[in-house]
């Protein structure tokens, strides 16, 4: 038996979507088998995830809160990956963004008592700038010196973690604890529950303005990628670098710019998390959002609007996955999902034929 791959030329548009969904279902089935093998009950686990993530308005709100940082980091990865730039550093850029936004309150960059209408935009800017700077480093090293961005972004994740820990355990520590003082109310992103006085039904819903940042960012990115000349160039570089070079596109410049924007998006995600959810800077602020973002970008096939949908699915997995035993199951499911997606990619691009070996070359 011999296995041969023939490029598909006649695949209809829906085929890619169908294969992606099929890969997702396949991954959940395979993960279910593994859960059963280690002594768990897959059906109950999955029902638990659905119930705990979408069972009521309250938990849907919680799911969206988890999805918010994933949307922004997912967009960061999707943008870079579209150009075949491997930004594996959304985690570090997210942390730097959280740090930059916190610095506005804790350094402090703005004096205490500054109204929210000023504090929030400055925090957004600080988060995006800090994340963008963290993206600039691998971008410039790749563009100018040809250094692998994969290694640099990964290493910078560890550096960012230590950097945040330095501030959280040291200068900004609240009485020696592993967290800073809570931010004043002016530095909190508005949540639905904040309007419970006017509309009682909103009480307890913790969805915050960061979700809107994510959705708006996704919409802007969709327009930029699909409807502008700049976006066309980014897509061209991703699909065919040689053609882009012949077309006279300054690829090195695009590498730096895309890396900075990518870092800024992830940094904004960090800002939204400290300002919208945690209300302080602390250790372990991210349970690996920046890594899950890689899978989300893939599941979304780099489409900004699809990133939003995929983020909600993974928000549910993270939210409900916390209670699933053994603990490693959600991480493992993520790995299986990514492999299935990679496999689906092959099936989208090629037709697989098994044929008898007629002659050995």
């Amino acid at each position: 038996m011999n296995l041969s791959l023939e490029p598909r030329t006649d695949a209809p548009r829906w085929f890619a979507t169908a294969m992606t969904v099929a890969a997702f279902v396949f991954a959940l089935t395979l993960s279910g088998l593994i859960i059963a093998l280690v002594g768990g009950d897959p059906i109950r686990s999955y029902l638990h995830i659905v119930g705990a993530a979408f069972g009521s308005v309250g938990v849907i709100s919680d799911t969206l809160v988890k999805a918010t940082p994933l949307i922004l980091t997912g967009l960061a990865c999707a943008l870079a990956f579209r150009m075949r730039l491997w930004n594996i550093g959304a985690e570090g850029q997210f942390l730097l963004g959280a740090w930059g936004a916190s610095a506005v309150v804790l350094a402090p960059i703005l004096p205490a008592g500054t109204p929210a209408i000023v504090v929030i935009p400055v925090m957004m800017l600080a988060g995006a700038v800090a994340g963008g700077l963290w993206g600039f480093i691998p971008g410039i090293l790749r563009a100018r010196l040809g250094v692998s961005e994969i290694i640099v972004t990964l290493m910078l994740n560890y550096v960012a973690l230590s950097w945040v820990q330095f501030w959280v355990f040291g200068p900004w520590s609240e009485g020696g604890f592993q967290q800073t003082d809570a931010f004043p109310r002016e530095a909190w992103l508005p949540r639905l529950t904040d309007f419970a006085n006017a509309v009682p039904a909103l009480g307890g819903l913790t969805v915050h303005l960061g979700l809107i940042f994510g959705i708006v960012a996704a919409a802007i990115m969709w327009v930029a990628i699909e409807r502008t000349r700049w976006g066309y160039e980014i897509r061209l570089i991703g699909d065919s670098p040689a053609a882009a070079r012949y077309a006279g596109i300054d690829i090195k410049r695009r590498i730096v710019v895309v890396f900075v924007i990518s870092g800024a998006l992830a940094g904004l995600g960090g800002m939204s998390e400290v300002s919208g959810v945690v209300h302080r800077l602390q250790d372990h602020i991210s349970p690996g959002y920046g890594f899950t973002a890689i899978i989300i970008a893939y599941l979304a096939r780099f489409g900004p609007l699809r990133v939003v949908v995929a983020s909600i699915l993974f928000g549910a997995l993270i939210l409900a996955g916390r209670e699933i035993q053994p603990q490693g199951i959600p991480a493992m499911i993520q790995g299986v999902i990514l492999f299935s997606l990679v496999g689906a990619d092959v099936l989208i691009r090629y037709r697989i034929r098994f044929e008898r070996r007629l002659a050995t070359a």
Binding site: V168, Y298, I329, Q334, G335, V346
Partner: protein, 322 residues
């Protein structure tokens, strides 16, 4: 603190990086980038440790860890060699998968359990060489000596033997290798598998010899990625990888030891100046890897040597430019 002791500990700690880096050199020389090293190491670490604990035989643990790493690497091999999937994404997926599997398996594994470790050996004559003997040949874990042997072996195999020539051909110009009758797919599978076994060995070296115990995700703590960076720094040469592993082993060891001293050469230890300044110490190895990769890339560009030409690209028989 005793300087030779620190260096000896650095050599031991470098052995972990050495195994992983040489494994990755084999895979990359064959044209397959495997970014799953961190995951394979973690998987090997937990398998090695659990087998060691449950059987009381650390060597059996090492063998099972190598098998575990090798088996995991085959997932990557199928995806990238047979199915032509993107090597970067598949490698990342392998890290997720390995990490998840290791966490699931490691659930009931306690680091507090007593486990028989790989024995320490002192080499009779060599250990009496001044300085060198104390650093390299006195009371090192047996696996450290395996590392010493692996370096010249890998160098000789890749650079001086016929199978090594085939390996390089497959990674540089697979179409020509294929025309010569060399089984491109078969060799790529073989070297990805070897890379996996060495990553598994690196994992078991942590849990059964160098820093014994299972500490969840923290057990490997980025050393798989450091090893991948070392491969670039080493420009795919086992000898240079050995120097790199030694250097980074010493750095990793140094940041542990320096936290316990108040004075360095009579000067106040700057890393103990503030309550949390030790975190700058923890950044050090990762910043050094970036520096090493920059140096490696620049030097490679200057000398016009580079990555194996077909690295990252699937081989398709009969396709132009493969």
């Amino acid at each position: 603190m005793d300087f030779t002791n620190i260096l000896a500990a650095g050599v031991a700690s470098g052995t972990v990086l050495l195994f992983a880096a040489i494994g990755e050199i084999f895979a990359e020389r064959a044209g397959v980038l495997n970014l799953g090293v961190e995951g394979m190491m973690l998987f090997g670490a937990v398998v090695g440790f659990s087998v060691g604990v449950s059987t009381g035989n650390p060597w059996l643990g090492v063998v099972m860890a190598m098998l575990a790493g090798g088996l995991l690497s085959l997932v990557h091999a199928v995806m990238t060699i047979s199915l032509r999937a993107d090597q970067v994404v598949s490698g990342l997926a392998l890290t997720f998968l390995g990490t998840g599997l290791a966490r699931v398996l490691g659930e009931g594994v306690s680091s507090a359990r007593d486990v028989a470790l790989i024995p320490q050996l002192t080499i009779p004559v060599l250990s009496r060489i001044p300085l060198i003997g104390e650093i390299f040949f006195t009371e090192q874990r047996a696996l450290v000596y395996v590392g010493y042997l692996l370096v010249p072996l890998a160098w000789y195999w890749i650079g001086r033997t016929r199978p090594g020539l085939h390996l390089r051909a497959v990674g540089e110009y697979p179409a020509a290798a294929d025309a010569q009758g060399i089984g491109v797919y078969r060799l790529r599978y073989a070297y990805v598998f070897i890379g996996g076994t060495l990553a598994g060995l690196a994992g078991a070296t942590i849990t059964l010899a160098i820093s014994p115990g299972w500490f969840g995700d923290q057990t490997v703590n980025g050393r798989g990625w450091i090893a991948i960076g070392l491969v670039i720094f080493a420009q795919w040469s086992p000898i240079r990888a050995a120097f790199g592993a030694l250097l980074f082993g010493a750095i990793l060891r140094f940041i542990l030891d320096v936290q316990g001293v108040d004075l360095i050469l009579g000067v106040q230890n700057p890393f103990l100046a503030g309550r949390s300044t030790t975190f700058f110490l923890e950044m050090l190895p990762y910043l050094m890897v970036i520096l090493a990769v920059v140096i490696g890339s620049r030097e490679a560009a200057r000398k016009r040597v580079g990555a194996p030409a077909a690295l990252g690209r699937p081989y398709v028989r009969g396709e132009r430019g493969a």
